[in-house]
Structures are given as C-alpha cells and as structure tokens.
Amino acid sequence: MEDLILPKNKLSDYINKIKSDYTIFAPIKKDELTYYSQIENPSDISLDFINSKYPPKSILFNQTETLFKFKHGLKAEISFKEFKNSKNVIFGIRPCDAKSFFIVDKLFKDDYVDPYYSSKRENTVLIGLSCNLPGKNCFCTSMDGGPANAEDVDILFTDIGDKFYIEIKNIKGENLIKIGENLFNKPKDQDKNKLKQIKKKAEETISRKMNTTGIVDELDNIFDNRFWKDISMKCIGCGICTYGCPTCHCFDILDETSLREGARVRVWDTCMNPEYTIHASGHNPRPARMNRTRNRVYHKFNYYPKNYNVIACVGCGRCINECPVNIDIIDVITKAREVKT
C-alpha cells in the first residue's frame, strides 16, 4: 500500500476510530516520565518524549502473569485461563523496542510456544514512531537498527512537522489503516523530502557507537579473563538494567496461595539477584557479582546469538541511562575487545 499523510490534528479522530475494535496502548506522561499505558482518551497520548522509561515489553509479557489457578489438597484441580483474543494496538513504539519483540519472539516461540506471550503478540499491531531526536545514549545504528527502521513494525509514523508521514509495511498494517481511510491524504514531494531530511538528521545525531563485528568469538576468548572481575566490582546487583531492558526475558514461577486456593504466577526475575541460581543444597554456580554480570553480558552478546543468530540488544540505551553506578554496556564491550589475552 502506498505511503500516506495524516495531519496531526486528525490523530485523535483516527485513534477514536480504531478504539472500538482494538485496545490501544500509547505513551502517556505521568510526573514528567513517559510510560506505555492503555488509553481511553486519545488526548492522553503524549508524543513529546525520546523514549519511555520502561520498555513496552510489559504489554505482551506482563510483569505478573497468572498462569493458572488451583485448589489444593485431596481434591486438587486446576483451572486454566481462557486466552481472550482481544486485538491490541501499540501506538508510538520506537523502532528499537519493536525490534526487541522480533528478538524475544525467537525464544518464546521456539520449541514449546509460550501461549501467554504469543496469543497477545499475534493479535497486536505495532504502529511505530520514528525518532526525530535520538537520546544521548542511543546506539541502535550499531545494533542493526536505526531511528527510522521500519523492519519490525506494521506501520511507521514519522513526525514531519504538522503532519505524520505514514509508511505501511504489511497487510496487518494495511487493514488497520483502512479503518481510518478518509482521514489520510497523499504525500506531496515536499513531504517526501522532509521525511528524508529528518531520517538523515536523526541518524547523524546518534553519536555513540558499539563495534559488534565478531563479538561472539571475541567473548569466547576472554571468558576466564580477570577483566570481568574488574568491570563488575562497581555493580551493586540492583537489577534496574534487567527491568528496563526490552530484550531481558528471565522470569520466575511461583505458587501463591491463601488457604485452600491459589494461583501459579510468572513474574519477572533478574539474573543479578544472588538467589537466582541457588540450589536447594546451598551450592550456587554464580556466587559472585562477577559471575552474574559476566553471565548477563554473555547471554546478550554470546549465548543468544549462538542459539538464535541475533544479538539480544537493540541499542535503546536504557541500561546506560538508568544504571546507578554508570556501568555502560558500550564501554564494557569496547574494553572487552581491547583485552589482551
């Protein structure tokens, strides 16, 4: 389908049109921070942000998810959740976060398909929003992405002034656009030029770069090096990097009960927690912060690529922005490459 233009003042009308069939998640501003949240009113949407505080992975992969409920005791029985196939739209997702879904799909859909995640993923349409002004720690261009990368979204909106330039990437996006047909216009040549300008400027604004050529082999060579002890001495093991990371997917499964009934829940967990791998016997394969920090870097840049052929990092920079002690993944990888064996 051809490119389209949507004047900014018509955005609310479009959202209202799709609201009746879809649950809409969009960025909202709360106390000066932007979060992705379900919206009822299109006027709640705030597109004045570089990137949201937490990634939108919580929409498809809830922080707390009830797997099933049970009654225990002699008459134990379990009742599974019905998968409501409600259709969702995530509006205003940045290209890096959209790429994270592509990366995490490989794990959740591999072997045993995770129904809690896939039932939502298949019914979700992603409307991306290009970054006109990337953040100070963004490095998506080094991770096979870009501020206007449209590979992983269904529709891409780019802000070109008083209107949005719309690129439609697939049939899913096309069907969603058709709902608001008469709101759109055809792009003029000056619109197309403005688009090119904005995309170019955005890419040039990204100043931080990470060299990932051959990183899998490089990391294989330095696994036992003292470098990891040095780099992880300042880690306090808080887990902010894991909760803010769009590709971190580790979780815990627990039974939570009250008297006779209960539920099995899946909650986000962080590999930075010392108890993460502790055995019942007391043995802990990753007893020190050095082991855990090294495991996290390797999981993203060595193990995941070995299993699924893609580096599990999208270059959003949230871990760099949020780390309380300024552990900088770009710095870590760059220094790792310089380690002399």
């Binding site: 049970f70 009654k71 225990h72 002699l74 008459k75 134990a76 029985e77 379990i78 794990l107 959740f108 591999d110 072997d111 045993y112 995770d114 294989d220 696994f223 036992d224 997917h249 580790c250 979780f251 815990d252 499964i253 627990l254 039974d255 009960t257 209960g262 099995r264 967990d269 590999c271 993460y276 791998t277 502790i278 055995h279 019942a280 016997s281 043995h283 394969p285 990753r286 082991n291 495991n295 390797y298 999981h299 060595n302 193990y303 995941y304 070995k306 299993n307």
Partner: protein, 270 residues
C-alpha cells in the same frame, strides 16, 4: 494430574530419600506417556511449587512413573509429607536422554553416588529389561553409609543376577559391611573396567563426578565415551526462563545428559 500410588522410603534422616510411584489420573495419558531414560519431569505440589526430577523408573514399565526425591527445600519437604492417594501435577518429559539405541552392543558401566542413582536407575532397569541388546553391565554405586544407600532391595536382586556386576561401597567403615569401603571414584579404580567398546555414565554430587571422570580418563576412556547428568535450579523446564544455562546450553532443554567432551568445551559456571 497424577495420584501417588505408593511411597517407598529409601532411607530416612535429614536428607531422606523417598521414591514416589505416580499414576496418571487420565488412563489415556498414562498409556501415551513415553520417554527415554535420562529424561525428566516437572512435578507440582500445588501450593508449594514445582521441581524438576529425573524419572527413576524405566519406560518399559508402562503403568506408572517413579521419581526419587531427596528432602532438601520447600517443595521437597512438602512432598515428603504426602501420603498415597494425594494428587500432584506432572508435566514432561523434558530434556534430552541417554543414547540407549546408539549404545546397543556396547559394554556399559554406570557409576552413581547417593541420590544421583535416580536417573541411572531408569537406565539400569531399561537395560536389564532389554538385556540381550547390550554386552557387559557393571554398576558401581556408593553412599556415605549403609543408611544412605538407596534402592537396597533392587540392588540385592541385581546382585543375584549373573549377567550384571554390582560393586557397592560406603564411605566409612561399618560393622557388617564386607564390601568395598571408600569413595566411589576409588571403588571405580579397583573395578578397573576396560574402555574397549564401552560407555561410562556417571551421576552424583559434583565433586564425585569430577574425580570419577578423572579416573575414567586414567583408565583410558576417551572423552566421548563418558556421559553425565547435571542439575541446576530450574523453573520453566523448557529453556525460556533463562535460569539453568551453562554457557549457551540450557540444562533443562539441551541436557541434563551431557557428554564429557561437550562439557569440557563449554564456558560457563556449573
């Protein structure tokens, strides 16, 4: 959903071991459930949690499923309080398995220690039920004391057989014990199995595995003739929660059976 049919107390004490015989409530599932020795299941005690156990019964016994459980943490202690007739949940089978078809026609030597005998028991019973497909069978098994030895009645049956060589041991001297006294790796050296056309499988505490493998190499076994099972803290059992990985392999999905040459090259924490 399974019902506990029978509980056998293997040994008592603080880290007591009990074998649970489970039968699926749904007869069809019981008939369809098939696995190969080495595979594991996730057993749920609703309200307490789930644990990953190696199936310790052989797939040749179709009517039931057995797991051997050591009392150690929250879920296992709760399991030890269960009685026959209680209902649990089981999902599986997960993980990879011993290469029972590839090992036909070979001499087998199984070295176990303590509760590590559980996955080996499945393998031993399978081999005994298909005895003609395999050549020599040597079982080396040891525990801290006679009180810690598991599957005692089965071992006495095995000892009576002419086509199986059983070599038991306990760590410290005890009255009435006239077999080997010492650690399992030392017992292995005294048995001196030949590496020719042989496969060695070992399961047990990490420290025992380390020395057993050392001694197997000393005896001339090559790295791809040695297999072991590993364990880790597990939650999902299907390679998604990211917890049980050693390097890029997940113990729940790509294991728990690993060959020694696989382990040697794996960079990761065990």
């Amino acid at each position: 959903m399974v019902t506990i049919e029978k509980i056998t107390e293997e040994n008592s004490g603080e880290r007591g071991i009990k074998t649970f015989r489970l039968r699926f409530n749904d007869k069809k599932i019981q008939n369809d459930f098939d696995f190969i020795p080495g595979q594991c299941v996730m057993v749920s005690h609703f309200g307490y949690g789930e644990c990953f156990f190696a199936i310790s019964s052989s797939p040749t016994k179709k009517d039931f499923l057995e797991v051997s459980v050591m009392k150690l943490g929250k879920v296992t202690s709760a399991l030890h309080e269960c009685e026959p007739g209680d209902v649990l949940g089981v999902r599986g089978p997960y993980g990879n398995h011993f290469d029972v078809s590839g090992w036909q026609g070979k001499n087998l030597i199984f070295i176990g220690g303590g509760i590590g005998q559980a996955p080996l028991r499945s393998l031993i019973n399978y081999v005994v039920d298909n005895r003609d497909n395999y050549k020599d069978l040597d079982i080396v098994y040891g525990a801290r004391s006679t009180g810690d030895l598991c599957f005692k009645s089965e071992f006495s049956d095995l000892e009576k057989r002419k086509d199986v060589n059983v070599h038991l041991s306990i760590d410290k001297e005890e009255e009435g014990w006239n077999k080997f006294v010492g650690f399992v790796p030392d017992n292995l050296l005294s048995v001196k199995p030949s590496p020719k056309n042989a496969i060695a499988v070992t399961c047990g505490p990490p420290i025992m595995i380390k020395f057993v493998i050392q001694n197997l190499l000393k005896l001339g076994f090559s790295e791809n003739q040695i297999f072991t099972t590993l364990e880790m803290r597990m939650k999902c059992g299907i390679g998604k929660c990211g917890r049980c990985n050693i390097g890029n392999l997940y113990v729940c999905k790509d294991g728990p059976v690993f060959s020694y040459d696989q382990l040697k090259n794996l960079k990761g924490e065990m």
